[in-house]
């Protein structure tokens, strides 16, 4: 026993080194390689050129402003839905929750495409309804506000899921005790629910902020036409004019994004410091509040928000796929199935993209889980400096925009892997490894939250009774954190499915992902084809979600994130 277990600590000796090695490969190695290139750029004096460019500071400013505004919007919408759908007796919670999570699973560039087609003079939908603004009217979404609004819509479900996971484990007895003592609903909410849900809100805000700073699809489609560059789009355009200096420039730029993201995470860390709310098991605080008459206000409000978040943009997308040419109003006479036919039956890239995205997302979600369950365990049990360092190393790749990671992985895997002598570059495997690196933190976060709320006493009791690590893992830990495991897999799968920025640089012939295919179609001026493929992607997402819904009865409670 002594050989395998550290004294005074219940972890097997191999556990921490295993996590450290995983983090070294997925995070430290590529970033160190990138940093070396960055330092080389410093040494060559190129850094002065980069730092003295006004566009850099402009992009930094836009990145921060859009991310902060976007986070605020996603918090407002996400918290509204989380509190109402988790804690009240609102009717139709199932469908509301289902539809609310949907925008997160739609690729950001599809969201942007759909919203652009919904508003402004270009809207086939508004043209069909004869509501289109006159020629030359500015597209209102091509602005800081437009970018922030879509960030908010895109990331509100992240806040919702983060907060909801915490709300579902709220102790019902606490609420009931307060009620019995005569506390009003408002008082219960303010004094019990809100403080206990703060970690979830803060975690949601942090995920949202970090996702905003790294988002590429939305600022690429909404910002570039208005010359509003965020750091990710600035890096992308720098790549579009590849020179000998590009790698160095990008290394410096990514340093700035890293600082912004780390600053956001540090604020989160500070906000959470000293808070440690542990709750035993799942108490299920469903319907803690009766809405009464308020439901007549709340129900239409939530459905109206969903209409503007989903139904209207999706109709616009369908209209965009059905028009025969740009600027032609959609009527029953002009309607054409050409784009759908081209996408379904002629374009070889359609099938390739579907197969690649689904395989990559599945492999990433399940493969990562093996590492992250163990990592979450170690990081919540060990609270020393080493584990804090490891935890922040895991965060870094996720807080960097995908394009930076992509460059880092190109640099690392350009040459064949030593010893094995396998070349990963130009294959689907390099995208997979980059996904592992990028989504490590996404996979880990719900698990960490779950471990934080797990009472160590249960595991200690099992250990004292002689249960080994593996036994404790499968008999106690995994069942208790099963909802978080489910949430983790689904989150990673859906985010990876919609990924654009990493694959935008790592894709090659035959390894196009859905995100890349849609972006390239739109970029080449075939927005009818882009819309048609987007419609298919949205339908696929809905079908996958419905399948999960059907399976939900067989899955542990809480695995399907939008269900109670």
């Amino acid at each position: 026993m002594h050989g395998y277990v550290r004294s005074g600590n219940s972890q097997p000796a191999w556990l921490f080194p295993f996590i450290v090695i995983s983090v070294l490969i997925l995070s430290v190695l590529p970033l160190a390689r990138l940093a070396m290139v960055g330092i080389a750029a410093f040494a060559n004096g190129g850094v002065i050129d980069v730092l003295s460019e006004p566009s850099l500071w402009q992009a930094t400013y836009y990145t921060i402003v859009t991310a902060v505004l976007g986070t605020i919007i996603s918090l407002l919408i996400g918290c509204l839905f989380a509190f109402l759908l988790t804690l009240t007796d609102l009717p139709g919670k199932g469908p509301l929750s289902f539809f609310f999570v949907l925008p997160m699973m739609i690729p950001p560039q599809v969201t942007a495409l759909a919203w652009v087609q919904m508003s402004g003079p270009s809207s086939p939908l508004l043209k069909a309804l004869s509501l289109a603004p006159p020629l030359g009217s500015p597209q209102p979404l091509y602005s800081v506000g437009g970018i922030a609004l879509l960030y908010g819509v895109q990331h509100a479900p992240l806040v919702y899921l983060a907060l909801r996971a915490g709300l579902m484990t709220l102790p019902r007895d606490g609420v009931e005790a307060a009620r019995l003592s005569g506390a009003s609903s408002l008082r219960v909410f303010r004094d019990i629910i809100l403080p206990l849900s703060l970690p979830g809100i803060i975690a949601g805000a942090a995920i949202s902020f970090v996702s905003c700073t790294g988002n590429f699809g939305i600022p690429a489609i909404l910002g570039i036409p208005a010359s509003i560059y965020t750091l990710p789009t600035l890096i992308f355009t720098k790549f579009s004019a590849f020179t000998s200096r590009t790698f160095g420039d990008v290394a410096v730029l990514s340093g700035i994004i890293a600082m912004i993201s780390v600053a956001g995470l540090m604020i989160q860390d500070r906000a959470l410091r000293g808070r440690d709310y542990r709750v035993i098991g799942l108490s299920g605080a469903s319907a803690a509040f009766q809405l009464g008459r308020w439901r007549f206000l709340a129900t239409p409000l939530l459905w109206a928000i969903l209409f503007f978040m989903l139904a209207a943009p999706f109709s616009a997308l369908v209209a965009g796929a059905l028009v025969p040419a740009y600027g032609v109003p959609l009527t029953f006479k002009t309607m054409s199935l050409h784009a759908l036919q081209e996408i379904l039956f002629r374009q070889a890239v359609t099938r390739t993209a579907f197969v690649n995205s689904l395989s990559l997302a599945g492999a990433t979600a399940l493969g990562l889980l093996v590492v992250t369950v163990l990592a979450a365990y170690v990081l919540t049990r060990r609270r020393d400096l080493a584990s804090r360092i490891v935890a922040s190393l895991i965060e870094i790749p996720y807080s960097l925009p995908g394009i930076v990671l992509a460059v880092a992985f190109i640099l690392v895997f350009a040459a064949p892997v030593p010893v094995l002598n396998i070349s990963l570059y130009g294959t689907i495997w390099i995208i997979l490894i980059a996904y592992f690196s990028s989504f490590f933190a996404v996979s880990l976060k719900p698990l960490i939250t779950a471990f934080h709320q797990l009472d160590p006493a249960l595991e200690e009791a099992a250990r004292l009774s002689g249960a080994g690590f593996v036994r404790r893992l499968f008999d106690i830990i995994v069942p208790l954190i099963a909802p978080a495991v489910g949430a983790s897999v689904i989150l990673v799968f859906l985010i990876a499915c919609n990924e654009l920025t990493i694959s935008a640089l790592l894709w090659s012939a035959g390894t196009q992902t859905l995100g890349v295919a849609i972006y390239n179609l739109d970029d080449s001026g075939s927005s009818d084809l882009a819309s048609a493929l987007s419609v298919l992607v949205v339908l696929m997402v809905v079908v996958m979600m419905l399948l999960l819904e059907l399976l939900a009865k067989r899955l542990p409670k809480g695995v399907v994130p939008w269900r109670n």
Binding site: S137, Y229, S359, A509, D523, S527
Partner: protein, 325 residues
């Protein structure tokens, strides 16, 4: 729990069965998707034993991708079919291209291909002005875009996203009476730079903007489909790129690549381009529908060596005027 674990394992196993592509040739091209697919389909019909995978992106982006791959020592592409000769000339000088003397070259004007056989033009793509038919002014020349009627209504492709746009800017910059001052005047008139040519087409056809600089075939084709747009060849003349094809020196399948070059230069390949709405580069070919007679199109000259030398500076000048990077 066990069932979940085994289901997950099964799922994982099925996901890892990722199909590997068995392409003989990989083509990097800047043609729009539908055209790229049609070109490749045409070649595969003519050469059923060769399978071609293709990748599409704007010329600068596809070159950036290729450069990164070359830096990595593992370029994936066998062939390039991209916007302009200047870019291929640069690759030739860097020793990245394979020389191949195609027998089809005899049918081409000598100015349209590299004498050493490193690259061959496949078509003529001019950049002119498109406008939305509901626009107030009908532009006839480039300078019309700086008039007050066009204030805030002009869009153009970025040289950072499009090879044709780069050549276009370099061509106009060398024309007396236009030059970079013309671009400054456009900027002062509220013109914006929006991605590639596709973005310009979309913006003008949909009425977000009224006027755009754009490659000829996009608006001419869209007009035929019913879009409310017109294309004009401006009085001062148009810039032109020739979408050349070239073989990479690193190709592992040079014989198949040579067949591809022969195909796109052959009468059959050229007819394919014609059908898609491009002006073929081969001598004595017809022009696609919607184009004026060949001699009615005034093509402005560009000196390839000078353009190549000035590319970085020109990009900087352009970025300086439009505040983009």
């Amino acid at each position: 729990m066990k069932t979940i674990v085994s289901a997950a394992a099964l799922l994982a196993a099925s996901f890892f069965a990722i199909p590997t592509s068995a392409a003989n040739l990989v083509l990097y091209t800047s043609q729009p998707n539908e055209d790229a697919q049609a070109t490749v389909d045409g070649f595969m019909v003519a050469n059923p034993d060769i399978k071609v995978d293709w990748v599409r992106d704007g010329t600068p982006k596809i070159i950036a991708k290729l450069q990164a791959e070359i830096q990595a020592g593992n370029p994936v592409a066998d062939l390039l079919l991209i916007a302009d000769m200047v870019t291929l000339e640069r690759l030739k000088q860097d020793g990245k291209l394979l020389a191949y003397k195609s027998p089809e070259a005899a049918q081409y004007d000598a100015s349209l291909y590299d004498a050493d056989g490193y690259y061959y033009s496949t078509k003529l793509i001019t950049t002119g002005i498109m406008y939305n038919t509901s626009a107030g002014m009908k532009p006839a020349g480039w300078k019309d875009l700086t008039k007050p009627e066009a204030k805030g209504l002009v869009t153009m492709p970025s040289p950072l996203a499009s090879g044709a746009a780069l050549i276009h800017a370099q061509t106009l910059a060398a024309v007396p009476g236009l030059g970079w001052d013309f671009y400054k005047a456009l900027q002062a008139n509220g013109a914006i730079v929006a991605g590639g040519n596709g973005a310009v087409l979309k913006s003008v056809a949909s009425g977000e903007k009224a006027y755009g600089m754009v490659v000829d075939y996009l608006p001419i084709r869209e007009k035929a489909k019913g879009a409310p747009v017109e294309f004009v060849f401006p009085s001062e003349g148009v810039s032109a790129v020739t979408e050349p094809v070239g073989i990479l020196a690193s190709t592992k399948n040079a014989e198949a690549a040579k067949k591809f070059v022969d195909y796109v230069l052959s009468e059959k390949g050229q007819e394919g381009f014609l059908k898609l709405g491009y002006i073929p580069a081969r001598n004595d070919m017809k022009l696609p529908e919607g184009f004026p007679a060949r001699d009615a199109i005034k093509v402005l000259p560009i000196k390839a060596e000078e353009a190549l030398k000035n590319t970085d500076q020109d990009l900087k000048t352009f970025s300086g005027i439009y505040g983009s990077n």
